[in-house]
Amino acid sequence: MLVKLMKHEFHATGRVSLPLCGVMLALSVVAGMALRFYEAIPRAVGWIGTLYGGSVFAVAVGVFAVLMQHFKRNLLGDEGYLMRALPVSIHELLLSKLFVALIWYVAAAALIVLSVFLVGALSGEFRDVSFGDLWDALRQLFSYRDARDWVVLLLGVVGALALVTLLFYADFTLSQSFRKHRLLYHVMAAVIFILLLRLTGSLNALIGRMAERGADVIGGADGPTAIYVTGGMPWLGLAELYVSAAALYVLTWAALKYRPNLE
């Protein structure tokens, strides 16, 4: 059922997001080609460039906005009567939305990178770039990181994206659940926010102390310290990220289950 729900989510959100991405890619092609004629028609090319830039912005903002609007309408609005009567659990409903959101973020980021690449390639600026060299440069950049660091980086990015998404989900759901107790909701939201901040602060301090100690042991050189902060002791930071995300998830789930307040 989760897969079916995810398909439905893609369908519902892709209606707007896909054309947005399509427009951006098309504009990147146009902008890339146009750049070749920059000297001849600088003004027109400038306009095209602005348009392309706008489309990148539209994708970044639009994909997120579509996801959030869809969440509201699909679970908290009229469509909720259909979705919440389906033979699926609230977990499946929430997770399908969260997973699809994460996939969209990654896809949108990849498409934006691709479009920048298209502009570069089509404008002829990449003529002199050897991709072998590029790859080597990238490898060098990350050469001192082992596989574990990559996992940490990936988990960190995914966790942060999930956290932001869940923050919105929780806010939408809870503010709807307590629609008749606005003040109560705002107080509660503030308390939760402060708790999250304190948790973040104390954990960060802890990580910082441990990293310092680690750096002292190694010898206090600049490089290793940096590695230690981001690579050596990140598990607590990750745990904090995921615990916060899980807390928001549970809050959203509980509000949907026990205080559903469909319009």
């Binding site: 398909k7 519902a12 009567y81 009567a85 033979p87």
Partner: protein
């Protein structure tokens, strides 16, 4: 005859307001039951509790012996008061959606009914009139081979000709191994279709009787009885 819906001392509070205060109700398989009562008597709340859209504040409700859950939702076909279908979907996509999520969806039955409604399959729901949207949603609900149909005001705000169409659609979808529970305040229109009538008043069951019995024993129609019981 087996029991499909059972409520025991079922309560639902919204804040300090009691929407249901101790409902005891048992519905058998193979009946068409009218859920009747003035506005605010708890009809919608009872239906929402049965399909898991709300959780009880007290007492219990069981569908086919189980508490409302995704599992019971698989055998309950629910028609909400309002249009819940995503407006961007076409009739075709809406049928695909139902077919995807409900194993008991009878695609051919739905196609038949859509055909009879002379509905353009590729038209989006957004482009349909209010009446057509309501009919499509009812078609999808009744095209499932569910054990329990919960219809919340299927006749609300439609013209008499549509009312006929809707009652026919309900009768077409009805099977001996299913129970239909529908709320309405248009009693005179639906009386002939009902096996049983459940009268709700202020969150409690005032009366639950066979329609034939009401007529036989009291010599009056359900509509007349309703008017007497709820006279101000």
């Amino acid at each position: 005859m087996s029991t499909i819906l059972e409520c025991r001392a079922l309560k639902k509070r919204y804040g300090t307001k009691e929407a249901l205060c101790g409902v005891d109700l048992t519905l058998e398989t193979g009946r068409i039951v009218g859920l009747l009562g003035p506005n605010g008597s708890g009809k919608t709340t009872l239906i929402k509790l049965a399909c898991g859209l709300l959780t009880p504040s007290g007492g219990e409700i069981r569908i086919d012996g189980k508490k409302p859950s995704p599992e019971t939702n698989a055998v309950v076909s629910y028609l909400p008061e309002r249009i819940a279908l995503p407006l961007w979907m076409t009739a075709q996509q809406a049928m695909d959606f139902y077919g995807n999520f409900y194993a008991d969806f009878r695609r051919d039955a739905a196609e038949d009914m859509v055909e009879r409604l002379r509905l353009e399959r590729t038209q989006t729901i957004r482009a349909m009139s209010k009446g057509t949207r309501e009919k499509l949603q009812l078609i999808l609900t009744m095209a499932r081979a569910a054990k329990l149909y919960l219809l919340d005001e299927p006749l609300g705000g439609v013209d008499p000709a549509s009312r006929d169409y809707i009652l026919r659609t309900i009768l077409t979808g009805y099977r001996e191994d299913a129970t239909v529970l529908f709320s309405t305040h248009l009693i005179a229109d639906v009386e002939a279709v009902l096996d049983e009538a459940v009268f709700l008043r202020e969150g409690g069951v005032l009366l639950h009787e066979r329609v034939d019995a009401i007529r036989e024993e009291r010599g009056k129609s359900v509509d007349q009885l309703f008017r007497e019981l709820f006279a101000y």
